[in-house]
């Protein structure tokens, strides 16, 4: 016979799914939310996003090439995604040098020391964000107020977010319609509820993620804040306000569902989601920070290996 045959164990065909397809799928799902932030925060949102994405990709390339001495894998889309998610968690008036520090923390502390994509314990974008939140509390908690197609960047007018208003009582809140469309202060990617939910639907249809984590988180927050609201409506805001404000939707849909740092079994995903929901609500209602989503996700990220070893997938023929 002229040509040689390949001999390998089965299976001999592959479904054609790839890391790239999944990463770019998530990026596509983030487009609506990005458009909303461009609309309400204008130039600032554009600059913060571009700087964050470019610096994350750059840092990953440099670390892989010169420190790990490996072939860079920046084309798999994961560094772009980290950069975009980091930007979505920042106020749109954040100076460039702070963004660079955040990107370095995300990639240089959150991701690469563990061995790169797939090996990190914590969500890199959140490592970057929390690093900045603790290091630069003033800059990280002054959010610009929405201004349609704003041409301002660091000079944008700032104001309170819904959650920081809630710390002082349940008055003067934006209307539900404003909250749904994203016409409120906040980190640049977290404001547009409808846009974020569009992204969720896209990812569910394309089977990039399953419903378990987002539903468990949102359900837990709804129930927990609902109970507190019915106990004392003047102190505790109603659950819909909690659902639509802060980083809850962005976190539940895009951050907590990060493959690498979330559990693998369906039951594990539910436990993880409930954990995030409970921790977020506790921090929001009783903590000194107005928002607790980032901390809640990071804490549950850290517990994921433990969840994985206790919450096994349903075994065929098992009890």
């Amino acid at each position: 016979m002229e040509n040689k045959l390949y001999v390998s164990p089965s299976p001999h065909i592959h479904g054609g799914d790839s890391i790239k397809k999944n990463m770019y799928g998530v990026l596509i799902a983030l487009i609506p939310a990005f458009l909303v932030s461009l609309y309400y925060f204008g130039l600032g949102a554009l600059i913060v996003t571009l700087v964050s994405v470019a610096s994350c990709v750059c840092f990953e390339y440099l670390i892989q090439k010169f420190m790990m001495k490996k072939e860079p894998t920046i084309y798999d889309g994961s560094a772009i995604l980290t950069g975009l998610l980091l930007a979505f968690n920042l106020p749109s008036n954040l100076p460039v040098w702070i963004i660079l520090i955040g990107a370095l923390a995300a990639i240089g502390i959150g991701k690469m020391p563990f061995g790169g994509l797939g090996n990190n314990i914590l969500n890199p974008a959140l490592v970057g964000r929390v690093f900045l939140l603790i290091s630069f509390p003033a800059q990280m908690t002054t959010w610009p107020v929405p201004e349609v197609m704003s041409m301002h960047y660091t000079d944008a007018q700032t104001g309170a977010t819904v959650l920081s208003m809630l710390k002082g009582g349940t008055e003067n809140l934006p209307s539900y319609m404003n909250m749904l469309w994203g016409d409120m202060g906040g980190s640049l990617g977290e404001v547009g509820a409808i846009a974020l939910i569009l992204g969720l639907i896209f990812m569910l249809v394309r089977k990039i993620i399953t419903w378990h984590i987002p539903v468990a988180i949102l359900g837990t927050v709804l129930v927990f804040t609902g109970i507190m609201h019915s106990v004392n409506p003047t102190v505790y805001a109603n659950p819909l306000i909690h659902l639509l404000s802060g980083g809850l939707l962005l976190g539940a849909i895009f951050m907590a569902t990060d493959y690498v740092t979330s559990p693998m079994s369906k039951s594990g995903m539910i436990v993880y989601g409930i954990g995030i929901g409970v921790l977020t609500t506790v921090i929001r209602l009783f903590g000194s920070y107005p928002e607790g989503m980032s901390f809640a996700i990071l804490i549950m990220n850290a517990l994921t290996p433990l969840i994985n070893s206790y919450m096994k997938p349903k075994h065929f023929g098992g009890k």
């Binding site: 016979m1 040509n3 045959l5 390949y6 001999v7 390998s8 164990p9 089965s10 299976p11 001999h12 065909i13 592959h14 479904g15 799914d17 790839s18 890391i19 397809k21 999944n22 894998t73 798999d76 061995g115 790169g116 994509l117 797939g118 090996n119 399953t210 493959y259 690498v260 979330s262 559990p263 693998m264 079994s265 994985n308 096994k312 997938p313 349903k314 075994h315 065929f316 023929g317 098992g318």
Partner: protein
């Protein structure tokens, strides 16, 4: 209502290119190579020697012990030699080479086409004939059929399940067998029911074979206790444990046999072979083999004498396409890659699949991103990526605790993995290791 199993599963492109192609008898080869090990269990012991003249149906080798199977000559001619031959497993094993002369059959075999629906034989006599005929599970597992028909003491069969799912992409041999030999399949099924003393049998067929479902449903009206069950087209529907779950909603426990849930599962090809053995006194000497592939000129279904080198089948289907990368014995999910085209067709050969070079090459492996798509796909409810890691780090205790021995090697995990990780390669190796450890512990 379409039934299906409750855990995992995937749906690869079906690619049933040879569906609807009539089963055509393949011309006799000049020489057949009949391996002594065409079944799970001990190899058969040769009872002929070099120079012996044999007819079609002459016993060549006798079963060695309980889990083994007789092997008969598929051609008439002269035993050339008994020597090593490369078989589908890729190993050299003992085989009987026969030079074909004419086509003379043993007189005891009834070669007429007339269909006989009843027999006066008792259950024991049916099982005896099945054993004599050397019938094994023809779906590919090749477990000796008489063993499955003799439940261990304390177990009682309640239902016979005929596996006609044919869930492997590309393969159509069972499909065409049902279309052309439907009556014989149903008679074979009732013989099997009689053998294991059950009054109910279900033939499970994936819904991508609607014509076969309709055809058998029409015929089954005349057979008491036989029901045709359409199944969702979902791989691995034809996995024994999955099929039982689909049809009777019971999950066979880890390490247990199907009979523990009252089920006996037989392949549809086996049911046909049982008909021929019991009614026509014909041993298992030929079978239907699909020859297929996207580049194959004429994807076909052939009736092939066992021992025929696969090159004859490939030639009959239009020859080996240029740029052939891989030849697979069986389907693309669980078949074995063959090392050359001289490998003979054996009892377990359901198909020959030819992949182009492009289709044959695996993409480079990337880091596991713990997306858990393998976990969702696994029909046994295992965590494939964890089992692969346990194997890589030789953590056999961890692998055993996480049920590595339950893996049915269906390949759904590797098929699904976005990082192209060879999950099943590792799990298969780890499973072998762990089973060895368990055996050593018991002895």
């Amino acid at each position: 209502m379409l039934k299906t199993f409750r855990i995992g599963g995937i749906h690869p492109p079906e690619n049933k290119l040879s569906a609807g192609k009539k089963i055509t008898p393949l011309a006799l080869p000049q020489q057949v190579i009949v391996p002594l090990s065409q079944h799970i269990g001990a190899p058969a012991t040769a009872v002929v020697k070099k120079g012996d003249l044999v007819k079609v149906g002459t016993l060549l080798a006798q079963a060695t012990g309980f889990v083994s199977a007789n092997i008969h000559s598929s051609v008439s001619g002269k035993v050339n030699k008994i020597d090593n031959a490369l078989d589908a497993s890729g190993y050299r094993r003992m085989a009987i080479y026969i030079d074909v002369e004419g086509d003379e059959w043993e007189e005891s075999i009834d070669r007429s086409e007339t269909i006989v629906k009843t027999t006066s034989l008792t259950a024991e006599e049916i099982i005896k004939r099945v054993a004599e005929a050397g019938i094994v599970g023809l779906g590919g597992a090749t477990f000796p059929t008489q063993v499955k028909l003799t439940p261990p003491p304390g177990n009682k069969a309640e239902i016979l399940i005929i596996n006609a799912a044919e869930c492997e992409p590309f393969l159509t041999s069972d499909h065409m067998l049902m279309m052309e030999k439907g009556e014989e399949v149903l008679i074979g099924t009732s013989l099997l029911m009689k053998a294991i003393h059950v009054t109910k049998a279900v033939i499970g067929i994936e819904n991508n074979k609607k014509d076969a479902i309709a055809h058998l449903q029409k015929l089954a009206v005349e057979y008491k206790g036989i029901e045709i069950q359409p199944l969702k087209t979902q791989y691995p529907q034809g996995g024994e444990k999955q099929l039982i779950d689909s049809i009777i909603r019971r999950q066979v426990k880890s390490g247990a046999l199907p009979i523990s849930e009252g089920a006996v599962v037989q392949n549809v090809g086996t049911a046909f072979a049982v008909y021929e053995a019991v009614i026509k006194n014909k041993p298992l000497i030929e079978r239907v083999v699909t020859v297929t592939g996207k580049e194959v000129a004429n994807p076909s279904n052939f009736l092939v004498r066992l021992g025929t080198p696969i090159t004859e089948l490939i030639e009959a289907a239009g020859g080996l396409p240029p740029r052939t990368g891989k030849i697979i014995g069986g389907g693309p999910m669980m078949g074995k890659a063959l090392v050359n085209t001289e490998v003979p067709v054996t009892k377990g050969s359901s198909g020959i699949l030819i992949l182009s070079e492009k289709e044959a090459v695996r993409k480079p492996m990337e880091n596991c991103i713990r997306c858990a798509k393998c976990v969702s796909a696994c029909p046994m409810g295992l965590n494939p990526t964890q089992l692969m890691t346990a194997t890589e780090f030789t953590q056999w205790d961890l692998a055993e605790k996480n049920h590595i021995t339950d893996c049915i090697e269906c390949g759904s995990c590797s098929y699904t993995c976005p990082a192209n990780r060879p999950l099943l390669d590792h799990i298969r190796y780890g499973k072998g290791k762990v089973m060895g450890i368990i055996r050593a512990r018991k002895s």
